[in-house]
């Protein structure tokens, strides 16, 4: 009781600003500065009496940090303005670490809302927070740890224009806690353009990595090619699937085709008439619609596919049609010894189960989801959409004699789920703060002289005794098309067939990571991101997104300039037509490669390696010369491009 009385007495004290007013000079929290300027703990009793308010807690926490890092580094911590991008697995850990380390000026951006499956690691969130914005809830939670911290949350996509160069310019350092390549590339470019240091981190299961990016001194995020999302050839998806993933891709497209908005680019657009006809009807018997769609997809369409004789051989037998009634008779479940340890959802259903599940999912969409027809899109977290995709993919696998999957595995693949645990994220977020302190100390100095490193989280065994393994930061790649040469070569199968809008979407956005690219050729704009689709408006601007590259007068060896104003990034593309571009490897019809600034070194490296090599060399030399000619053209055109940019 006595303690409570004291509590009140101390709360009545004015606690303006620092909250140091209740203490004797020289005492900070539970530490006292000794003659050497170091902090030593003072008695617990005094402490209980003194530290009664939030300000005292902050002071005590700050004092502990200061005792370890020293005055100078702590001052840097307190004044640094940070942008945290992402409030998920790494983001939650990071915000906690930053706030408790004494960082006070933090803004956080995240577009996501909280899902139940986040709760095993995103520890700032509770069940009651499900469906609320991550950034907002995370900021509220860590503010409780340090009420004096100034934390601003933004619920939005970091690619939105309000988070552009001007926004980034406000901060001293940007700290990434992202889970996808696209956003990472975007933030990388923003930081390069705004000349802000960037901390980059990632985790997958037990593994993780942290690194530091500073323009001109280190590799940027895109200096080394990153594996981009796999694109499958149209024919594999539409007619000749070989793996479960092909059938799942097909099923996801099917879901969007049946229940989403009209989309010409859907891979199964040729099935649109049949699949979407129920949408127009006043009332639909969902069961009946389900069985009709079933018959069309897994029986009739398969019969048609089987007749395309040149697709099939002994190695690749034609698919077998499946009628609904026969499917219902097939009630046998494949089982293995391992099944006893499995969850129900991890077991493969019977064909009958898939057939019934498919019809039930369609019925549900036309029943309780009636309102959402025409505006739905596949999400792995939507149970009806996932049931539909799992059953449809399995039925197609049955058609093509591919081993069917459990719902659990189908969800992993269809949703590209990355396994994740709290411990790895805690390690990665901790390492990010380690690097952040090094970056703050290296402001105005050479990064090479700092202790900043790339650190790898090894698992389960250490590598040369190190379970967390630092390695030196690499210098920038001069050929990098983002921070280096800003020139890339794009090989296209056909300039005649490739529409400029397809090039912008598939190649420049998809592959080169631009957000809203504008394209220029010979000094004039040939594609404007404000007018991405053909139509009257575009035409008034003199734009024709549907025109092919040849129609725009581009030939092999032509040069295109790409400007992405939002990213503060531009690139020159040297166009080359390659009719024999492999369709399996490059289903999009294009191939992007770096433009080696020092191409002659590559040629000389192979010198004196025998006759066969000499032949190869001659070919290389010929190519190099062609490249050189292109390079001259590129340089000339770049001058033109600069004029264009100035005009804008």
């Amino acid at each position: 009781m006595e303690r409570h009385v004291e509590n009140n007495r101390f709360r009545q004290e004015p606690v303006g600003g620092s909250g140091f007013c209740t203490r004797k000079a020289g005492e900070i929290g539970n530490f006292r500065q000794d003659s050497l300027g170091k902090l030593v703990a003072v008695g617990v009793k005094t402490l209980v009496l003194q530290a009664m308010t939030c300000a005292d807690v902050t002071a005590a926490g700050d004092a502990a940090v200061k005792a370890v890092v020293g005055e100078e580094r702590f001052a840097m911590i307190q004044s640094a303005k940070l942008l945290v991008v992402g409030a998920g697995g790494i983001g939650c850990e990071l915000l906690k670490n930053l706030v408790l380390s004494g960082f006070r000026e933090i803004e956080v951006v995240d577009l996501d809302t909280i899902d139940v499956s986040n709760l095993n690691r995103q520890f700032l969130f509770r069940r009651v927070h499900v469906d609320r914005p991550k950034s907002v809830v995370a900021a509220e939670a860590v503010k409780q740890f340090r009420p004096n911290a100034n934390i601003i949350s933004h619920h939005g996509n970091v690619k939105d224009p309000q988070f552009g160069l001007e926004f980034i310019g406000k901060f001293d350092v940007v700290v990434n806690a992202l889970d996808n390549l696209e956003a990472r590339r975007h933030v990388n470019r923003l930081c390069l353009a705004a000349e802000k240091p960037l901390l980059e981190a990632g985790s997958t299961g037990h593994l993780g990595q942290v690194t530091v990016i500073r323009k001109g001194e280190t590799e940027c995020f895109e200096c080394q090619a990153k594996p981009s999302q796999k694109v499958y050839p149209y024919c594999t998806i539409r007619s000749t699937p070989e793996k479960p993933v092909h059938c799942l891709t097909w099923a996801k497209n099917l879901f969007d085709l049946c229940f989403g908005p009209e989309d010409e680019s859907n891979l199964l657009a040729d099935l649109a008439a049949e699949m979407r006809k129920f949408q127009a009807q006043e009332s639909v018997d969902g069961e009946d619609a389900g069985r009709r769609i079933f018959a069309h997809l897994f029986e009739e369409d398969i019969k048609k596919q089987a007749q395309l004789e040149d697709l099939w051989s002994d190695q690749r037998p034609p698919p077998g049609p499946l009628c609904y009634e026969d499917a219902l008779k097939n009630t046998e479940r494949p089982s293995t010894d391992a099944d006893k340890d499995k969850l129900e959802t991890q077991k493969v259903p019977s064909v009958a189960g898939d057939a019934q599940g498919f019809v039930a999912a369609v019925a549900k969409m036309y029943g309780e989801r009636r309102e959402l027809i025409g505006q739905s899109s596949f999400s792995k977290d939507d149970p009806v959409a996932m049931d539909f995709v799992h059953c449809a993919a399995n039925l197609r696998m049955q058609n093509y004699r591919i081993g069917r999957l459990s719902r659990w595995d189908a969800q992993s693949i269809a949703g590209s789920i990355i396994p994740a645990v709290a411990s790895t994220n805690a390690i990665v977020a901790g390492l990010e703060v380690v690097q952040l302190l090094h970056v703050l100390q290296s402001v105005g100095k050479n990064m090479k002289d700092s202790k900043a490193r790339t650190v790898w989280v090894r698992f389960p065994e250490p590598s040369r005794k190190k379970i967390l393994q630092p390695s030196s930061l690499h210098t920038p790649n001069p050929d990098c098309f983002v921070c280096g040469s800003r020139t890339a070569r794009v090989a296209l199968r056909s300039l005649e067939e490739c529409k400029i809008m397809a090039l912008a979407k598939g190649c420049i956005q998809g592959q080169l990571g631009a957000h809203k690219p504008a394209l220029y050729a010979n000094g004039s704009c040939i594609f404007d991101p404000e007018y991405p689709e053909p139509g009257e408006e575009a035409e008034e601007e003199g734009l024709h997104p549907e025109w092919s590259l040849s129609q725009w007068g581009l030939t092999s060896g032509s040069l295109l300039q790409v400007e992405d104003e939002g990213q503060g990034w531009s690139i020159n593309l040297v166009i080359r037509e390659e009719p024999d571009l492999d369709e399996q490897l490059y289903p999009g019809g294009f191939k992007v490669s770096q433009w080696p600034t020092q191409w002659w070194l590559q040629v000389e490296a192979g010198a004196g390696a025998g006759e066969e090599a000499a032949k190869d060399m001659a070919e290389k030399k010929r190519k190099a010369e062609a490249d050189a000619a292109e390079a001259t053209a590129a340089k000339k055109a770049q001058l033109d491009a600069n004029t264009v940019a100035l005009d804008d």
Binding site: A60, I417, A426, V434
Partner: protein, 340 residues
């Protein structure tokens, strides 16, 4: 073993996809004691309760402002109350599907110590909560051995953070699958790992101080040898004596980021930097999870993270005679290149 519920599947989805159902079931049936709510142990509380492990938090100390400033399970209104009790409420909130209990008991006798360690699969102890009594820690480890419980001990010093682990004769049954659902199952392969006791760790300290171990391990060894038989010396005011001791035993390791032995000594008595605790707590939690699930090879037996270099080292203390190198694996060559 009770079946995993639908609710659990929804929450634990992402980790079930990492370590599988059987491992999760083992975690749900495991009981872990966190003795000492300090440093990396706070982080371990978070990681382990989220993994679904039943926790008991034990600490006899009351909450101070500095605790609240570091331990995010505490609030200003907890000051003066019991640490374990206050923290347990908020650890529990973090995972309502888990179970969290608390205790403020102290080991007043050998029998009491045994009673306090009974019924746990793993015991994680903070040295500060034991009043820096290394001998007591060794005694706890030997009791844990007799009870068949794993024992981990954590020590923190500012930008350095350390743990020792003793899983006795640990049998690993399986390794994590590589490559996701499309890769298919792999044949489980059992392997046994022998851990030295903490008693033999302490006995090896003189050897450690003169040997080839990393400087960060030597610093922990120096603390142990300085406090030997007299844990009362574990107060910041004895920093100069510590420095003298280091000179006497002819071991003054240059730990990256630390200026001298006096400064190093002071760091043992403040909470570590939160991000240092975050890193070591993560590594420690992985070891607890490996021990319970019997999946993946454990780290034997001492781990130290240095925030100045960003490296976390693993050493076997006392050192084992190195087995003859069969071949320099490709991975090692890569590691060589990566190394500073």
């Amino acid at each position: 073993m009770s079946a995993i519920t639908g609710d659990q599947v929804a929450v634990y989805d992402r980790q079930l996809r990492l370590w599988g159902v059987q491992a999760q079931q083992r975690l749900l049936n495991a009981k872990v004691l966190i003795w000492g709510l300090e440093g990396s142990n706070v982080e371990a509380c978070k990681n382990l309760v989220l993994a679904g492990i039943a926790l008991t938090l034990r600490d006899h100390r009351t909450v101070t402002a500095a605790d609240v400033g570091f331990n995010y399970f505490l609030r200003p209104e907890d000051i003066g109350k019991l640490r374990a009790e206050c923290a347990s409420k908020r650890v529990q909130e973090m995972n309502p599907l888990g179970s969290v209990s608390f205790s403020s008991d102290r080991p007043t006798s050998d029998d009491k110590l045994k009673e306090l360690l009974k019924g746990f699969d793993i015991v994680v102890v903070g040295l500060s909560c034991l009043g820096f009594d290394f001998e007591l820690a060794a005694k706890m480890d030997s009791v844990c051995r007799s009870l068949g419980a794993g024992f981990l001990l954590t020590v923190a010093a500012g930008e350095l953070s350390f743990f020792f682990s003793d899983l006795h004769e640990h049998v690993m049954q399986d390794r994590s699958a590589q490559g996701g659902p499309e890769a298919g199952p792999t044949e489980p392969k059992a392997e046994t790992f022998s851990f030295p006791s903490f008693g033999s760790w302490l006995a090896a300290v003189p050897e450690l101080l003169q040997g080839k171990s990393d400087a960060s391990f030597k610093l922990i060894g120096l603390l142990a040898s300085f406090l030997q038989k007299d844990p009362q010396k574990a107060v910041p005011s004895r920093a100069a004596d510590f420095a003298t001791h280091c000179r006497e035993v002819k071991c003054e390791p240059a730990v990256d980021g630390l200026v001298g032995m006096e400064q190093a000594f002071g760091h043992f008595f403040v909470e570590p930097l939160i991000h240092v605790a975050s890193v070591l707590g993560g590594l420690l939690s992985q070891e607890v999870i490996k021990a319970i699930t019997r999946k993946d090879p454990p780290l034997v037996n001492s781990v130290c993270f240095n925030a100045h270099t960003g490296a976390a080292l693993v050493e076997h203390i006392p050192p084992v005679a190195a087995a003859p190198k069969k071949r320099k694996a490709e991975e090692e060559v890569v590691a060589d290149l990566l190394d500073d």
